[in-house]
Assembly symmetry: C2
Homo-oligomer: 188 residues x 2
DNA sequence: TCTTTTACTGGACAAATGTCCTGAAATCTT
DNA sequence: AAGATTTCAGGACATTTGTCCAGTAAAAGA
């Protein structure tokens, strides 16, 4: 987590020490839930090892995967963290995971401790926004098949680790349809 | 614009005066473009009067409406503004519009002038993130018909002002399909 | 290792959505 | 106001995508 912050801002040793004091650690076994809907999300996690996914239910009760997060990425129900309303997503470990955790109080301490943290918070939020924007554009501009291919090209190494049913709902299609797409792509 | 900032933070009179000095004004006629793709977006506008939309092209050359913005809302190609890369969207006036403008330099001055602006910038970015998140969820969770109904319930007064072709691509469907949906909804 | 459970593929069919098009209505232009 | 242009609804048909399902493969549990 520290290196992400350092890549955004040139922090002093004292600032980084403060961060060290505020970070806590946690591990989860494959399948465990880090957050369930109806809880308020009060922590942002940074993945040292493993994969997380967040998902919610549609009106038919199917799980819909909202996003994945991999090593060296942050994860949270950001919407809930920001609004302090109940989350509408669950966060689950897809593998055994090792996490660093920054909770709301810790983050507020950082923000209060100085300008640099405040600015870093803004910039990270901006980057999350841009990521989400790109995902939104891919939903408006591309077909399910094209979204799959884009993902395949950019994150091939991760795809093997993700059950296809999760991938399908992440792409906005059914497993049946993803199966068709994969068959077509392999032949091409 | 000022009242939005005040609703987020308790600014002093001096702080607000600085803002006043930095805001500029602009009007556009219906149909005019505020930003075209391939330009870097260097300003955030606040709509005093009128409606804007942003749109991009798909691979077939159809315009796809990415978002609308109404009175008392901000608009920009935020992704371009943040990354300082070329925008992938165009921003167009759907009606005659009156705008307040905060450009990159002005915003940086605000950020440098103090903690409060820095924090407000972060919070506004957070709110934009939450909006986008909700839109993303509606794409994953709802059908085109359901998205239309949701929009109809929340923004009925604006819908009359938006050509249906723009609305259709905003909802991720074709005009033909939107026509079917509207027929079904009216009967229900 | 054996058994049980879960995940994946793909057939057959159904439903949703898109394409192409035409005539009518609304809007813009002069 | 008249004509030109754009927008819209909806028919007919095509394509895409979903539903349901069964057989097989893979993974988890004992």
């Amino acid at each position: 987590m520290k290196s992400i912050f350092q890549s955004i801002q040139d922090f002093s040793q004292e600032e980084l020490n403060l961060l060290d004091d505020l970070i806590t650690f946690r591990t989860l076994k494959k399948g465990e839930l880090l957050l369930t809907e109806d809880q308020v999300c009060n922590e942002i996690v940074f993945i040292k090892k493993g994969i997380l996914r967040s998902f919610f239910m549609n009106h038919k009760g199917d799980e819909i995967t909202n996003c994945f997060a991999f090593e060296n990425e942050f994860m949270a129900s950001f919407a809930s963290f920001i609004t302090q309303e109940k989350a509408t997503e669950n966060i689950q470990a897809l593998t055994d995971v090792e996490l660093q955790i920054l909770d709301r109080k810790a983050l507020e301490k950082l923000y209060k401790s100085g300008f640099n943290w405040q600015e870093t918070g803004r910039k990270l939020t901006e980057l999350e926004f841009v990521n989400l924007h790109n995902r939104m554009v891919s939903f408006q501009k591309l077909s399910g098949a094209e979204r799959y291919q884009e993902l395949y090209q950019n994150h091939q190494k991760y795809l093997q680790l993700i059950p296809l049913q999760y991938l399908a709902s992440y792409l906005g299609i059914t497993p049946r349809h993803l199966s068709r797409i994969r068959k077509a792509v392999i032949h091409a």
